[in-house]
């Protein structure tokens, strides 16, 4: 064993109380960091599951310069055969003006195959009146968002006039109302692909395809594969970056706050080590006389700081993981009216690579903060140090 490590370890053991205190402070900070990080990972994971779950994971649009995708049947087949794709839904969408009695509103009228669209957006779960499948069974029918229905003052069974410049005027019967709780309730209506074609005058074409994936983290990868087929494709991270931004801000502020706590705990080590430099002046001078280089003296103190940090990080992450897992066992009383009603446990995610990263980062941080007392020790004039009692 190198003499620096030998001396570092021996000094830590000799100062039992201070060592315990330093390790305890770092461990406590690291524990809080670990628990909060696991909670954050769990909660953001849930946010992803709830929000991203209803988004198309990949949206395909026509080639550059084209308005429509023709021969979409082949495309749907080819996308469906891509590894990891679980559902594909072609749609024909555009703007439409809805009129009922004196009320008139513009919104998106989207023609879909209901069974396929439902696999993408699970809209059937959000139906408050009527049936989503009905648009496929009866011609000239529509399912509209709850806010839209409210503003038009329509009820199921009423017929609304739908028009738009360059579109064919149609009268559509409302067969269902959905409520997602999102802004879509005000701006979206569904009809069958056939009805949409009649309205937009686009025979046998669609202008978009929605894709659902088994793993929504692979969106960019799958989008790139679809691009190779000659179409425009974007993953949800590109079409809805706001979700990512929200989670990124949450994660960053979390990391900053708890990172600071760890830094403060590490600075406690600096003051302890500074004191030990002062009290060990004579010994440091003697070590220099015995042939220890300045760098060797520095290493003795950097090692002490690093070891304290490493011990604190190990104990802290260990305790943090135990506590996080215990929190994960806690059952939340069910409340079905809540948006989070489907979650019955506090979401916790303990990621092994993050734990390793925390341990490594705290160790590194303490090696760095150890530089200050190490400098103090190295700056000592050996002549003066030896003359001190």
């Amino acid at each position: 064993m190198r003499y620096e490590l030998l001396i570092a370890l021996r000094q830590l053991r000799a100062r039992k109380f201070q060592t315990l205190l330093s390790v305890g402070a770092i461990a406590l900070a690291v524990m809080i960091l670990t628990v909060s990080h696991s909670l954050l990972l769990g909660v953001t994971g849930e946010i992803y599951n709830i929000t991203v779950d209803k988004l198309p994971h990949v949206s395909v649009s026509p080639e550059e310069g084209e308005d429509y995708i023709y021969l979409y049947g082949t495309l749907v087949g080819r996308i469906g055969s891509i590894e990891g794709v679980t559902a594909v839904s072609p749609f024909l969408t555009g703007q439409a003006s809805f009129r009922f009695k004196d009320n008139s509103l513009n919104c998106e009228l989207r023609g879909v195959v209901p069974s396929q669209e439902n696999e993408i957006s699970s809209i059937e779960e959000d139906m408050v009146e009527g049936s989503f499948q009905e648009i496929e069974f009866s011609r000239n029918t529509v399912v509209i968002g709850s806010k839209l229905a409210e503003k038009l003052e329509v009820n199921p069974g009423d017929s609304v006039d739908v028009s738009f410049p360059n579109a064919n005027l149609l009268s559509l019967r409302v067969v269902g109302i959905f409520h997602t709780g999102s802004p879509l309730d005000e701006v979206l209506a569904y009809t069958s692909l056939g009805t949409a074609r009649e309205f937009y005058d686009a025979s046998n074409a669609v202008n978009g395809v929605s894709v659902r994936l088994r793993d929504f983290n692979r969106d960019t990868e799958v989008a790139n594969e679809i691009k190779k087929l000659g179409y425009n494709a974007k993953g949800w991270t590109e079409t809805d970056p706001a979700i990512l931004r929200f989670i990124a801000i949450e994660s960053t502020s979390n990391a900053v706050i708890y990172g600071l706590i760890v830094v403060i705990a590490s600075f406690g080590v600096v003051s302890t080590l500074n004191l030990s430099v002062i009290s060990a002046k004579g010994q440091i001078g003697m070590l220099r006389a015995m042939g220890a280089q300045v760098s060797g003296i520095q290493r003795i103190f950097i090692l002490q700081s690093g070891i304290l940090g490493l011990l604190g990080a190990l104990f802290g992450t260990f305790a943090g993981v135990l506590i996080a897992l215990a929190i994960g066992q806690y059952e939340i009383p069910a409340d079905p009216s809540d948006v989070y009603g489907s979650i019955s446990f506090i979401p916790i995610v303990v990621r092994f690579q993050d734990i390793v990263f925390i341990i490594f980062a705290v160790f590194l941080l303490n090696l760095i903060t150890g530089v200050y007392p190490a400098r103090q020790a190295a700056k000592l004039d050996p002549v003066k140090a030896i003359s001190s009692k």
Partner: protein, 227 residues
């Protein structure tokens, strides 16, 4: 190397402190010390004895002049080279023993060897032999706090000898001890000097002890006279 070539040679060695006024702590010292000699340095307090020891011990740098150790000019060496020379060629005993309080006597004596990069086994063998030599075979596992002043100073002497240095420097090694213990330590140094033929330079206030040395160097106001 013949017996005539000096292990230590001072040529016009000068140390000046500049605190507003110029203070010549060591003034144009010229001196040649041969291998195996036992040198006593005497002089009143503040005459520059410690300054001379620190310069020869490569712990301090001269303001002017040349210092040759083993024929090599050491005044212009890097910290690494000087540290290496302190480790291999020089052994120190100071007024305060400065033993590491958390290590046993044995480990303290092993320390210079560990700094030199020797294995623990090798260091332990050497340290045990030296502690027997200074009469502490029964105290090897004791820490400095469990030993008397004289015993600790003997541990410090064993430590100074552990890397078989060519030169052993003692700056008032008996200064903190009662006369009887001091005499014993001094006898021990003299015996080790005869046994190993190492060069010893020892600062002492005790003229009686000094008279037994091969050479007596008297320092007055930074000026050297050799007797």
């Amino acid at each position: 190397m013949t017996d005539e070539s000096p292990v230590i040679e001072l040529k016009n060695l000068t140390k000046v402190y500049q605190n507003g006024v110029e203070f010549r702590t060591l003034d144009n010292a010229n001196l040649r010390i041969k291998k195996g000699e036992f040198v006593a340095i005497v002089g009143p307090s503040g005459s520059g004895k410690s300054t001379l020891m620190h310069l020869i011990g490569l712990l301090d740098t001269p303001s002017s002049g040349t210092l040759l150790i083993d024929g090599k000019d050491v005044t212009k060496m890097s910290d690494k080279e000087r540290s290496g020379m302190r480790n291999r060629i020089l052994g120190f005993v100071f007024q305060y023993h400065h033993l590491l309080p958390d290590f046993t006597a044995l480990e303290n004596v092993m320390m210079p060897l560990l700094i030199a990069g020797k294995s623990r086994e090798k260091a332990k063998d050497v340290a045990e032999k030296l502690l027997k030599e200074v009469g502490l075979e029964g105290r090897m596992e004791h820490r400095p706090g469990e030993l008397s002043g004289g015993q600790n100073q003997r541990v410090a002497i064993a430590r100074a000898l552990s890397c078989s240095p060519a030169i052993v420097l003692g700056d008032e090694p008996t200064g903190n001890l009662d006369t009887k213990t001091g005499d014993m330590i001094y006898e021990l140094l003299r015996r080790l000097n005869k046994e190993y033929n190492q060069t010893f330079i020892v600062v002492t206030h005790n003229e009686d002890l000094a008279s037994k040395a091969d050479i007596i160097i008297r320092l007055v106001d930074g000026k050297i006279t050799v007797q």
